[in-house]
Amino acid sequence: MELTKTKNDREVMIRMINIHKSFGDVHVLEGVNLNVYRGEVIAVIGPSGSGKSTLLRCINKLELINEGAIEIEGTIIESVNMPDYPVASNQQVKASLGKTGMVFQNFNLFPHMTALQNVIEAPIHVKKIKKEEAIALGKRQLDRVGLSDKYDAYPSKLSGGQKQRVAIARALAMSPDVILFDEPTSALDPELIGEVLDVIKKLAEERMTMIVVTHEMSFAKEISDRVIFMDNRNIVADSPPDEFFNNQEHPRIKAFLEKMLSNKN
């Protein structure tokens, strides 16, 4: 497979080109461009309604774009009004989408399955892995997120933080190349946020490629390689966290950060 290389030889994993998205008459994204490199952790922040979650959901086609092109690991998975970017075959698109994992704000665990069943469902029925192997794999992933004692618990018996960790294990079990986190801690009680962030932090240390839409500023500061600030349907700033948080010149971003930090107290 021919990989897209950049000048400094870093591999582009996801390329979003001129993305337009609207819901009915409401424009949510207007010409967004974004490259995500392998091994990178990107924090996406910004006021609500700025299109953060939509941007994320466009990457794995949960939302279909109105214009633009999206490329995952060299495969163009979606292209609208962009003749220079021909969409790959259905099979290739499916394979590339399979390389993305996602973690939702509301967990979306399957309530009629135990934690372990949640994790092994897709490996068995999508990847067609043998059941015993899948169980071993599932247990490994649950161990990885610190839930060795919850294999057989139904989601209703788990706390929000535990649910979200099962959801992360479920995504990891498909061995994705990139995981998309859609506000993974927004539905959690404050005291449960830490355990989920710790798991994501651990993944960051393992150099898992991740895009995290979040409202946790300190977390964004601590783990991300790049902070992307969205406002008014587009990316307004894209810089390393140090620069972003400490030397912020942009008045709107400054105001936003001040508001977020004062809310904390």
Partner: protein, 216 residues
């Protein structure tokens, strides 16, 4: 005749009637679940003509009285040259009637499953049939269980309608005995039989619902 002696004399006849009632009940019930589930799925994702036919079916069967449906099949069909055995015709009417209700119950249950469940399946790469069969429908069964149990209890009461078309069920037997002996004891026994049946079913279904929602 003393009450107890009288009850002993008529009880065997009543039991034969009960046999007919139960036969009618199970003959009607047996196909309801598979039909209801299949119809609901077809109504949601079948080809357009099939969906259209099913819409008319549930609308017409739920919008008209069961007794009218029974009369059309028992008295109307022979007039236009269709002669069905009475028992089978009645069971068919009950089955199609309850299936129409269960179809709508299942459809509503499938529709009430959270959108996030579909999204989770999609990001895990599951196909549409996998999503429906492994994730959505199992969840909707649990949502549909209480109203479906309710329909199953209604059905046992509805079978009493066959007394109108002269099938010898509990109710018809009670009427005939009462008219013969000028006593209402047979009615009381019929009441007791139905109360026992429905109360028993309520208990069984409550147990079933408790088991089915074990994961909640």
């Amino acid at each position: 005749m003393a009450l107890l002696d009288y009850v002993t004399t008529i009880l065997p006849q009543m039991m034969i009637g009960l046999g007919t009632t139960l036969e009618m009940y199970f003959a009607s019930l047996i196909l309801v679940l598979p039909l209801g589930v299949i119809f609901a799925i077809l109504k949601l994702m079948g080809p357009k003509p099939v969906r259209w036919i099913l819409n008319v079916y549930t609308w017409a069967w739920r919008g008209t009285p069961l007794l009218l449906q029974l009369f059309i099949v028992i008295y109307g069909f022979p007039v236009i040259g269709i002669n069905l055995p009475k028992f089978l015709a009645a069971a068919g009417v009950f089955c199609l009637n309850m299936s129409a209700y269960v179809t709508e119950i299942m459809r509503a249950a499938i529709g009430s499953v959270d959108k996030g469940q579909y999204e989770a399946c999609k990001v895990l790469g599951m196909s549409y049939p996998q999503t429906m069969l492994r994730v959505i429908i199992p969840q909707s069964f649990r949502i549909a269980l209480p109203p479906t149990c309710n329909e199953a209890i209604n059905l046992i009461k509805d079978t009493a309608l066959v007394s109108v078309i002269n099938l010898m069920d509990v109710t018809r037997t009670a009427v005939i005995i009462a008219n013969r002996d000028f006593r209402i004891v047979s009615y009381i026994i019929a009441f007791i039989i139905f109360l026992l049946l429905t109360s028993f079913m309520v208990k069984v279904f409550a147990y079933l619902e408790k088991k089915a929602t074990a994961y909640d």
